[in-house]
Symmetry: C2
Subunit: 232 residues, 2 copies
DNA sequence: CGCTTGAATAAGTCATACCTTTGCGCCAAG
DNA sequence: CTTGGCGCAAAGGTATGACTTATTCAAGCG
């Protein structure tokens, strides 16, 4: 999954540093310096820089050096960029963006899922809805989170749209982030759990409007909570 | 914008070949072969392969070679991957996915824009709505396309959500693709143009519901047309 | 004052040598 | 005949030195 080897390590050092603003826009990174600072060879430095270039986070220019590009140019949909931003300074901005994205995508995915889901999807959704109810009652936050992530992943996958499906890790990262960082309510709200059941039922019943409405309520609620609790 | 130099050329050869299915899942690429086939050095091959790895299109494994990963693993939001797929065999599937994505995102973006757009945004939107009307009447498809792309880009940007804003190139690619490939109506439909004016007016008037509704009608119409005219 | 030209610099490329991991076959023991 | 481990070889991974190319900057010339 991760980039392997030394270039991966270098990437794990440079990416977060850039994403967090520690290396702000316009900073020049010279290959030779990176070699020495990190004790690796040119080969390694070049490969790491190439990857950052493909994410549009840096731009190598001859006779000048490799300069950090403005944040607006970055490939904000790249999973690594998202992770780095979530770990760093503009974690709040990233969560807000992702929140809005969820509000747009997940209801549409739920509606599609109500049309396209196969029997396995429906079974899995029903089972996960039950699990959510149980773990919420038991106030088992860890298990609840896992099932919540799985639930949204199944909805996204069942939509039959590959691009929606690929947002599962992103949504998972958001859910994980909010459970870890700001404290979820000591036990998940019964209302939220009920909405998840509603989504599962609507998808199983093949009712797109109901599925979409319930899912929209879920993600809008999450976004509101986010806005209410985020610091800046 | 593009990846530079020899690695860029190699990438431009490998990426489309993989995206089009010419090099199907499981194909092994050996570094030495790539060197000879393309007349480049190890360095170049490794950098290109690294980038493909970061897109999760290939997976290098020692003693085995670099194998092409299943399509489901690819980073489908990466602009290069999108472009390659649009140019290749599953152009239809890609257009469908993007169509659904637009249906989800653009109405939400329009609603946000009606809340967040600044005066410059509103002015620009109004101007573009006029341009659209004029070029549509003149049946100047090329100019119409350019303004259409600009229009949607402004809405996405005015939403204030960086992730939405970054979808502008993607949306642009879709619009370009449908104009180029399948033949748009000889002159843009007056109804569609009117809807664009409606979106612009609603955003200028700060009416999120109206903006969202009009935009949804636009992208739903585009998706229907797509489904109707796509081959497979 | 502006244009040209050249030198310095940093990235880009190549070739080579060597390291590290790992799949697979061979052989021996059960 | 099966099974386990040992070792080789194949392929990617890393390091390095030499060289190329593009680009900036400035000095010098018209």
């Amino acid at each position: 999954m991760e980039i392997q080897g030394l270039p991966g390590r270098l990437l794990a050092a440079l990416g977060p540093a850039i994403a967090s603003g520690e290396l702000p826009e316009g900073t020049v990174l010279r290959a030779e310096e990176l070699e020495q600072q990190h004790g690796v060879s040119r080969t390694v430095v070049r490969e790491a820089v190439r990857i950052l270039e493909s994410m549009r986070m840096v731009e190598p220019r001859r006779r000048v050096g490799t300069t950090v590009r403005p944040k607006a140019d970055w490939d904000v949909f790249d999973p690594l960029v998202i992770r780095w931003r979530l770990a760093g300074a503009d974690r709040s901005a990233q969560l807000r963006s992702l929140g809005s994205l969820r509000v747009a995508v997940e209801p549409a995915a739920a509606a599609l899922a109500a049309r396209c889901a196969d029997d396995d999807d429906r079974r899995e959704l029903s089972a996960l809805a039950v699990e959510l109810t149980v773990t919420a009652r038991a106030a088992d936050l860890e298990a609840f989170l896992a099932h919540d992530i799985a639930f949204h992943a199944v909805v996204l996958r069942a939509s039959g749209n590959e691009m929606f499906a690929h947002l599962k890790d992103t949504v998972g990262a958001v859910l994980t982030g909010r459970t870890e960082h700001r404290l979820m309510p000591h036990r998940p709200r019964e209302y939220a759990v009920q909405l998840h059941r509603e989504v599962a039922e609507a998808i199983c019943a093949g009712d797109p409007e109901r599925a979409e409405r319930a899912m929209r309520t879920i993600v809008l609620g999450a976004l509101e909570e986010l806005d209410a609790t985020l610091p800046d």
